[in-house]
Amino acid sequence: MKEEKKKEQKKKMLRDWLIFAGMVVVAAVLIYLYPSKQEPVISASFDYLSEMIFILPAVMVLMGLFSVYIPKDTVVKYFGKASGIKGFFLAILFGTLPTGPLYVAFPMASTMIKKGARISNIVMFLSAWACIKIPQEMVELQFLGPEFMLARLFLTIIFVGLMGLVIEWIIDKTGGEED
């Protein structure tokens, strides 16, 4: 199974490189057809590339550290016990630390619900996982600045907290999940 996963990832990586090669060809043709655009296209690409390349290794190191030091089952284990306001903050914390795309978190959330976690905390956990992960915040800080990043972070925590309560209220009101 692990072999298969590796093969799958290799295939995906190859595909990404091919898309990149395709993009470069398209860009080259466009620049050839419109030579006056050469300077702006290349300087814009270079600006963004250099902004990215100085932080990408650091961001990857952070993600690597989080994924090794905070295994997913630890998160699930501690989460089941938490409740009340403590649960709310744990949900943020646990959502913030691990890495990986959101769909990785669905099975974890499912296990947490079965273990008796509150719906509102699950919503908080998923949302924190989706948009307030630390390495992700670092990239936001780099490209959009501290005011933007902090404002979005605080607004997200406030509104996601409210949303969690609303979803929990609706699900409690109308009966739990059918399955």
Binding site: F20, V41, P57, S110, V139, L141, E178
Partner: protein, 160 residues
């Protein structure tokens, strides 16, 4: 290198040193993982960079701001929100993309709506979410996330 970039690198370094202090072997393992993820995401980053270059070079700012600038109003915000909900790209590369449309005349509101919907809502992964967490939960979460993404974006437009 900007101050922000230096800060990020220092932060990563401090975290790594702490990791080494806690458990040397694990620290080495995380470095390996980091290198692997770096090469895994590199082509995606480069693709986005080329897209940004082409967009900034070929699409005049007036066109960009017509859809996501001041004059597009609430319609622009909703449009960006829908695009963000449908697109399935890693959050890490969405920030340079967002910064580039901000540079060429998009409003803070539009950019905030884009990032928030992109990260919180997943049309592509909705079937999996329904399967794992139930239809009611998944639809409520995605639907309300859209609403709060728009609210967050509008507030950000006012305060920034």
């Amino acid at each position: 290198m900007s101050i922000t970039a230096i800060f990020i690198n220092l932060f990563a370094l401090v975290c790594f040193m702490y990791g080494v202090y806690r458990d040397r072997e694990k620290a080495v393992e995380s470095l390996k993982k980091a290198a692997f993820s770096f090469f895994k995401i590199l082509p995606t980053v480069l693709i986005i960079i080329v897209i940004i270059g082409l967009m900034l070079g070929f699409v005049p700012p007036s066109e960009i701001s017509r859809f996501v600038g001041e004059q597009s109003g609430i319609f622009g915000v909703l449009l960006v929100g829908v695009v963000g909900s449908i697109l399935h790209i890693p959050a890490l590369v969405s920030f340079p993309l967002a910064a580039s449309i901000l540079d060429s005349g998009a409003t803070v509101t539009a950019v905030a709506a884009f990032i928030t919907t992109l990260t919180m809502i997943g049309m592509v992964t909705l079937p999996l979410e329904i399967k794992k967490l139930g239809k009611k939960f998944a639809l409520l979460r995605n639907g309300l996330s859209f609403v709060i993404a728009v609210i967050i974006a509008l507030i950000m437009g006012v305060i920034l």
